[in-house]
């Protein structure tokens, strides 16, 4: 069971709430120190050279505070860190182009904040500007449409699958199983963000706790590919109940997904999470322990991650073209490796893979996942 992904509507903002991996904390680092109290916002410098600007924000007040870097209009947010509890320190890292800005502490998280003017001088370092925000907006909208399309196909194929399973057409149901699940696996981080639906739809047997009712895809999977012993097949009534619930929950999922919009952080993190899924569930053969159709899921997870990446790619090309090149190459390499295991319309079963082949897939996943984890910060920072 996965934790719900926080859905925060921050589309278009250039921000990062996390600190960079800086090891030095001495004052010579050039970082701007910010001390936020209940009634003051002390900024150690009023200016900084362009490029990466790091604000070390310490909350010395008694209330939760936020810190913003605002554009010269005092409205557009360049970057922010929020939820800084009393006594806590947190860094804000922004890529700032030369120009005039405002810093603002917001103790109590209300009002306009305590503001000061801040100047970024030209250091000669190139800072990406242009219409990154527009590129991101386009990409996230494309991704929204993609998710809606996938969930639509999921609903249709789930209905088909449920009908076949209820009717006892086991061969046809087995043939459709992996294909239908592809649409779930492509949008898994979105689907899993609904903490009530995910366990009903996609729980594996090992994830159950004692006494918990088992429903969803994998319960049906086991019934269609039953173990040789110690298994009682579902009755016709049980089959109908499971299949109906699968359809109801999937339809519910579809309805909820229609409302969603996404920001660049969600696309980037979603891509990373899809590769996590591959690394922890598919490469290990744990996801489909009865049908062994793990490579279908593998491909679907990679599809979903690639789409998210490609939606962000125009923005990434502007900000970090090297990373874009690396990711393109490694997606291609992973895909080539996967293609070797194609078998007709689908793939080889996990149990047909040799240890060396599994290791090669795992290595390719690691090779892609590591730079993919940088995608969010590279685009959003």
């Amino acid at each position: 069971m996965r934790s719900p992904t926080p859905i925060v509507a921050l589309a278009g903002l250039l921000l990062v709430g996390a600190a960079c991996t800086k090891n030095d904390t001495d004052s010579a680092s050039g970082n701007v120190k910010v001390r936020s109290t209940d009634d003051a916002c002390e900024v150690s410098a009023a200016a900084a050279p362009s490029g990466n600007v790091v604000f070390e924000v310490t909350n010395d007040g008694s209330e939760v505070t936020e810190f913003y870097l605002l554009a010269d209009d005092g409205l557009r947010i360049i970057g922010e860190v929020e939820n800084i509890g009393p006594g806590i320190s947190r860094n804000l890292v922004v890529q700032a182009a030369p120009g005039g800005y405002f810093t603002a502490c917001k103790p109590g998280m209300v009002g306009d904040g305590i503001r000061s003017a801040f100047t970024v001088s030209d250091s000669g370092r190139e800072v990406a500007t242009g219409d990154v925000a527009d590129l991101i907006a386009t990409g996230t909208e494309q991704y929204r449409l993609y998710v809606r399309d996938q969930v639509g196909q999921l609903v249709a194929k789930t209905q088909q699958f449920a009908d076949l399973y209820t009717a006892g057409s086991d061969d046809e149901a087995r043939a459709l199983y992996a294909d239908a699940r592809t649409h779930w696996e492509r949008i898994e981080p979105v689907a899993e963000s609904f903490g009530d639906l995910d366990p009903k739809l996609d729980l594996r047997e090992a994830d159950l706790e004692a006494g918990q009712a088992w429903t969803g895809w994998h319960a049906i999977e086991k019934d269609l590919w039953p173990p040789a012993s110690d298994y009682t097949p579902f009755t016709a009534d049980e089959r109908t109940a499971l299949a109906d619930l699968l359809v109801v929950d999937t339809t519910d999922l579809s309805a909820r997904v229609q409302e969603l919009t996404y920001d660049a952080t969600q696309l980037g993190n979603g891509a990373k999470e899809l590769l996590d899924e591959v690394a922890t569930g598919k490469v290990t053969g744990e996801e489909e322990i009865w049908s062994h159709t793990d490579l279908w899921d593998f491909q679907a997870n990679v599809d979903g991650a690639r789409i998210a990446f490609e939606n962000l790619q125009p923005a990434l090309e502007t900000k970090d073209p090297d990373l874009a090149t690396t990711l393109t190459e490694r997606f291609t390499a992973l895909q080539q490796l996967l293609d070797r295991h194609r078998d007709g319309e689908g793939f080889q079963l996990y149990t047909e893979l040799s240890t060396a082949e599994i290791k090669a897939l795992a290595d390719a996943v690691n090779a892609l996942s590591e730079p993919l984890a940088e995608l969010t910060a590279a685009v959003v920072l």
Partner: protein, 518 residues
């Protein structure tokens, strides 16, 4: 290999006299480390009302082992616990195991102590023993050692928790030994020697090395970090918290009428928690902190303050959502969310190399001491397995639970109250009508003095006060020294008698004694 081994045997055979002489002189020459008590600064007292290694300030290194008991003999089990107790008392005080230790035994015999800790400080070594459910009843409910009536009601294999992926080869066990020291070699030496003593009575079921403690058990200790890079065990129960220890760690005298022997003891829950290191490392700092509920650098709760500030689970942040998320590990694990339950954690980071997929096989070997695993640990773990955001990055791959008897006083053995006051019929040796030497005790010593003797012998005390080489049973060799069974086929049975002498190291004579087997 076979050549050198043959050569060794050959030399051992022809050099008998010389070897015996060397044995005696070597023994007399001095005890070395074996006889000296180590300086007290890094010695943790083995004896006490509670076993050491629970509230002892957590040492840096761990070697934990779980054993299956493979004998059916209650006497053998007791004998083993006596030998383990003696060995533990010696090793924790910085001495070698056995009469002669690592270096000063007979030249023709394998050293009693394996020797790799020779010359090392004990480095606060503690050795803590526990009894698993299988010691009381086997899987079929058989009362193996006449202990079933004294089985604590709450000592049972833990239920399956959501997400568990337990490896049977890393779970369970009839006995456990937790060896902790600041020196890894000392901890490994302890397990190695106890395992060696146990061979024939016990078999190692699984063992786990741990480096880097993941909790503090004393206010004097700084909070260490786990492999996720976060401080772990900040709100642990610590040695200074007597009230919490009495409420949540030590078994009280009226906790379980059947298990009065456990008063002053505790229960040990071990969980091998594998961490998905690589995917965690790809997670943003923001998400890592949100999952844990603490700031990574200082360990302060996200609601503010310093490491030891009490978390404010209600304090809202942006969008009125609490600063410490609903599924943050800190929140889900906190006593405030678990009916005030505290547990004493004593876990260690581990890395068992890599898995076959090029990722670290690493995690946290979780050890908790609790007064009642069913009332305290099970609800807590049920809650965690269900609600903890961290589950995305961890998987429980091993599990075991043990009753940890109270401490030992000098001269007694670990768990002796469990065995006290119960009369169990001793199975008579099956050696026909021959006179059976009434054994008073087995001497922990063996000599291969008879040149060309077909097999080693046991040495036992006879009613006449002498020592005899003998076997208890033809069918089931029962003479043991250092966990090995000696004495086999009756055709090779050649008893010898020697007079008791002032020195236990005097060699046996070789005069013949009528074999009771013939």
């Amino acid at each position: 290999m076979s050549l050198s081994r043959r050569r060794f045997l050959h030399l051992a055979g022809v050099g008998t006299a010389g070897a015996a002489a060397a044995t005696v002189s070597g023994s007399l020459a001095g005890c070395g480390r074996n006889g000296e008590a180590a300086a007290t600064a890094d010695v943790v007292d083995y004896y006490g009302s509670h076993q050491a290694g629970i509230v002892t300030p957590a040492q840096d290194r761990l070697h934990f082992a779980a054993f299956d008991v493979i004998t059916e003999s209650r006497d053998d089990l007791i004998q083993l616990l006596q030998e383990w107790t003696n060995a533990a008392a010696k090793m924790t005080s910085g001495r070698d195991v056995g009469e002669f230790g690592a270096m000063d035994g007979p030249y023709i015999a394998p050293p009693e102590d394996t020797g790799e800790a020779y010359g090392l400080r004990p480095a606060r070594l503690t050795i803590t023993f526990g009894f698993g459910p299988g010691l009381f009843e086997d899987q079929d409910g058989n009362d193996r050692f006449g202990l079933a009536a004294r089985r604590p009601a709450v000592l049972a294999t833990l239920p399956h928790f959501a997400g568990d992926n337990l490896d049977p080869a890393r779970s369970g066990g009839d006995l456990c030994v937790q060896a902790c020291s600041d020196d890894p070699q000392v901890a490994v030496h302890a397990i190695r020697n106890l395992a060696r003593i146990g061979f024939g009575t016990t078999a190692v079921r699984w063992s786990q090395l741990g480096f880097g403690r993941t909790s503090s058990t004393s206010d004097a200790q700084a909070t260490p970090r786990n492999l996720f890079g976060f401080k772990d065990g900040t709100s642990n129960v610590k040695a200074e918290h007597d009230d919490l220890l009495d409420r949540f760690v030590w078994v009280g005298d009226d906790d379980d009428p059947a298990a009065g022997w456990l008063t002053g003891g505790s229960y040990l829950v071990a969980r091998r928690v594998s961490m998905r290191i690589e995917t965690w490392d790809r997670t943003s700092l923001q998400e890592q902190e949100a999952i844990i509920g603490r700031d990574k650098k200082e360990g302060a709760p996200l609601s503010g303050g310093k490491e030891f500030t009490t978390p404010d689970f209600q304090l809202p942040g942006a969008g009125n959502a609490p600063l410490i998320a609903g599924d943050a590990h800190l929140r889900v694990a906190h006593p405030a969310q678990n009916n005030g339950t505290h547990i004493l954690r004593r876990g260690y980071n581990f890395t068992d190399g890599s898995n076959g997929l090029g990722n670290l096989d690493a995690g946290l070997f979780f050890i908790a001491y609790t007064r009642d695993p069913l009332q305290h640990f099970v609800p807590l773990q049920t809650n965690l397995a269900r609600n903890d955001a961290l589950n995305e990055y961890i998987q429980h791959t091993g599990s075991a639970v043990f009753a940890v008897p109270p401490g030992v006083t000098a001269g007694d053995f670990i768990g002796s109250p469990l065995f006290a006051g119960v009369t169990v019929a001793v199975v008579a040796p099956k050696i026909g009508a021959a006179p059976t030497p009434p054994w008073t005790r087995l001497m922990r010593w063996r000599l291969r003095l008879l040149a060309g003797a077909p097999s080693p012998r046991c040495c036992a005390q006879t009613p006449a006060g002498g020592w005899a080489w003998a076997c208890r049973s033809r069918s089931r060799p029962a003479c043991r020294w250092r966990g090995r069974s000696w004495c086999g086929a009756s055709s090779t049975w050649q008893p010898t008698v020697r007079q008791r002498s002032s020195s236990r190291r005097s060699p046996c004579s070789t005069s013949r004694w009528p074999s009771p087997l013939n």
